[in-house]
Amino acid sequence: MRTAEVVIIGAGPAGMAAAEQLIDYDLDILIIDEQASPGGQIYRQPPHAFKVDNWLSSRIYKNGKSLLKKVSENKKINWLTQTTVLGITQSDDNETNYPHKITTCNRKGIQDIQTKSLLITPGCHDMSIVFPGCHLPGVMATGGIQTLVKSQQLIPGERFLFAGTHPLQLIVADQIVQAGGEVVGMIFAQRFSQVFAILRSPSVLIRHAGKFLYLAGVLLRLIKAGIPIRFSETLIQANGKARLASVSIGAIDRSGDIKKDTVREILCDRLGICFGFLASSELARQYGADYSWSSAGGGWVIKHDEWMSTGVAGVYVAGEITGVAGAEVAAAEGRLAGLGIAQYLGRPGSQAALPLFKKTHRRLQHLNQFANILKYLSYPGGKLLSQLATEESILCKCEKITLGEFKQKLVEHHHISNAGAAKLFSRTGMGLCQGRYCHYYMTKILSEHGALSEQDIGPFTARFPVKPVTIKSLIK
């Protein structure tokens, strides 16, 4: 069986920063990623066969791109790309030096890899929102639209509308406009004054000036290009028969209620929903890592100590899986995890890294300040989410379960009080996405229903395989 001393799952900012930190310790490192090239979703590279000039030329991508280059060009690191991790189990022999067994799948088939330690950095995915028409072809995650533009060099539509609470929609709209596409509007649910209240704190503004200036620049470009940007408004419904044709938009009053008499319709063939992100914590949970709930920070996130170690010996986490906070926080955490792993494996010199460990923690503290601002600014809040979700809206796309059908189960079976039972009673979360896109709403509904905390309700049990796989590839 193939072995490694360190396996890094996920080649995004966290995984690459960890790898960079580990390079000097002369370890057998293997990085596994589902994409063809490293970078994660934020630095998702164009295909090898493409030649793209000025790829992600903005300043904010500069550090990330140089990290990407350094790690990619390092000859000591082994790569397993276009490879899906299906699950992690204990090695057969408990006494082995390689206690963790990672089951992977790619076009060549299934491969088990044993390792001494591992870092799980699977990142996050866009949060799915429940509203009438949310299941229509044409409704997409804004992050999904962005990766088509920056990696595949494709503008997937003619008239783009973005709606949500997260500023990513500004960046993606800007990228589309720069590339020559048409954006018909950007809809933010927050009040304009709410956004700018934050900027009244000069200390925050100065310390994170680079990021604010970048966002301000994007905003100005969009305004100059005449793209309507609206605040205190929200999508209400996606309309269309076989596919998206238009989106109904309504205003939100000062108390957070949607004003039904203000509804208007915007014609578009692509809606990017942009309400934030959820941590992809299922792989770590599948292997027994402990978790906690964060409503604004990504749902179920993985607990860790200051060296990014989970409770499971030799298993580390970094990046969005610990709480969605962006690429820079992810990279800082990846660095800490790298240091933690070097120490765990008892590499000579790892003790001397204490000053770097402390410095990285200070930097992390600084970065988290901005991340926290962004987190609370972008959090849609339960009131908005529950107003959008009508009884007829699809809660679970895979199993086609409406919110009304789900709530009916809770009426029939008032004793349901955890996620596992709710899944069993309703089939919500049993389909191909394995509950990734319905669990957030479901948790919120259950929590309200039973007056219980999200922690009491718990997540769906994460199972092998964490992504569906054809039986023929498993048994080959």
Binding site: G87, T89, Q90, D92, K101, T103, I110, D112, E399, E412, H413, H415, I416, S417, N418, G420, A421, L424, F425, R427, M430, G431, L432, Q434, L452, D456, T461, R463, F464, P465, P468, V469, T470, I471, K472, L474, I475
Partner: protein
């Protein structure tokens, strides 16, 4: 302290069904469940209605000869029960009884089927030995490797997600007090009655207690732990099993598929998913050398692959389907693989119903144990399943 006629411990199939039958006859019942209704093996098993002797029982046919004959007789009762269960509970439980195959691939396995069918036929169970061309007519999706099969027209499946909840609804309608997230911590006999102490598992850990004339231990894999609270040592061993589920597909497999020589059980549920299992083991988690009942059993990926390989060799088209999930469940088995059903001699008023194919036979066990609790007699003899057989 609240007083009841019967306290049922366990909110699985046997517990909820017993609570239902007891309350149908007017008994005042409380049901205490440590987690959620239908959360254990009752909701996690694959819902097979298998009436032929299973592979694991066929293996021990010599030493179990007498018991097996009795078991096949019990099967007849269970079949009748399943035929009427949706009417009885007045709801759709996705009961499908279009028949099931026990397949054989080798001459030895075919001989085993012949021997098995003799036992079954002698007790009146309808089974028919089919050869390849007949099998192909009924089930063209089966591999040509299948040389013979024993067909039982009553077999099929029911949706385990629906059955126990239906009983729980029925019980609740009969005013059964159903309490979930309640961990039973003590069972004491006081002045001829049972005092049942329990704590809250969710929110706070507050304790409470109730009094009942009788206690039914229907705690499934936890039945041994519950028994020990009443100083009753039940020889039930926890077993972890895996189950695999594919994505939904249009209806292809109409039957229950089992294998006489290999561990395999397959079916396609009404929702369209194909379920694949058959008794492949998951690893129980231990702490301080003791089984840890709070932690789920763990899969071994080689076991998953072997289970799926077996399935694909018998029903080849499943190769192209996605495996969505492999889940594990825990069940309790007695050393002779048969149920433990009846009163417990040394603890009067304490009853047990656990072990032994408790999905297929669960409704029947529940009905029989309820009869015993209420009338001290049963409409079908259950003496062979008494806990005392192990003494």
């Amino acid at each position: 302290m609240q007083k009841y006629d019967v306290a049922v411990i366990g909110g699985g199939l046997v517990g909820c069904a017993s609570a239902y039958y007891l309350s149908q006859s007017g008994a005042d019942v409380i049901l205490l469940e440590r987690g959620q209704i239908n959360e254990g093996a009752s909701g996690r098993n694959a819902g097979s209605l298998h009436f032929q002797l299973e592979q694991r029982l066929v293996k021990h046919r010599q030493e179990l000869a007498e018991a097996l004959e009795h078991y096949v007789a019990l099967t007849q009762i269970a079949i009748d029960h399943w035929r009427n269960i949706e009417q009885e509970l007045n709801c759709d439980l996705e009961v499908v009884m279009e028949g099931g195959f026990m397949v054989a691939e080798t001459d030895d396995e075919t001989r085993l089927l012949e021997e098995k069918s003799a036992i079954e036929k002698a007790q009146g169970l309808t089974v028919e030995l089919l050869e390849r061309k007949d099998i192909h007519k009924l089930a063209p999706y089966l591999s040509d490797k299948v040389q013979a099969a024993l067909f039982c027209p009553h077999e099929g499946h029911c949706n385990p997600r629906l059955l126990t909840p239906a009983y729980a609804r029925g019980a609740a309608a009969n005013k059964v007090e159903i309490l979930t997230n309640k961990n039973v911590t003590g069972l004491y006999k006081k002045q001829g009655r049972w005092q049942i102490k329990f704590t809250n598992n969710q929110i706070n850990k507050n304790g409470d207690a109730v009094i009942a004339e009788m206690v039914l231990n229907a705690a499934g894999v936890w039945a041994n732990e519950v028994g020990l609270l009443a100083s009753v040592d039940l020889p039930l061993l926890p077993v972890g099993l895996i189950m695999n589920v594919t994505e939904k597909i249009p209806k292809v497999i109409h039957h229950l598929i089992q294998h006489v020589g290999r561990k395999l059980s397959m079916k396609q549920v009404n929702d369209g998913n194909v379920l694949i299992g058959g008794g492949w083991l998951a690893k129980l988690q231990h702490q301080d050398g003791k089984w840890h009942s709070e932690r789920p059993a763990l899969i071994h990926t080689d076991t998953v692959k072997e289970n799926l390989r077996t399935a694909a060799s018998i029903v080849p088209f499943v190769r192209d389907l996605h495996l969505i999930r492999t889940w594990t469940g825990m069940t309790a088995l007695a050393p002779d693989q048969l149920p433990i059903l009846g009163a417990v001699d040394k603890a009067s008023g304490f009853y047990i119903a656990a072990g032994g194919s408790a999905f297929t036979y669960g409704p029947t066990y529940a009905r029989l144990i309820s009869e015993l609790i209420l009338t001290s007699s049963t409409s079908f003899p259950i003496a062979p399943y008494a806990a005392s057989r192990f003494q």
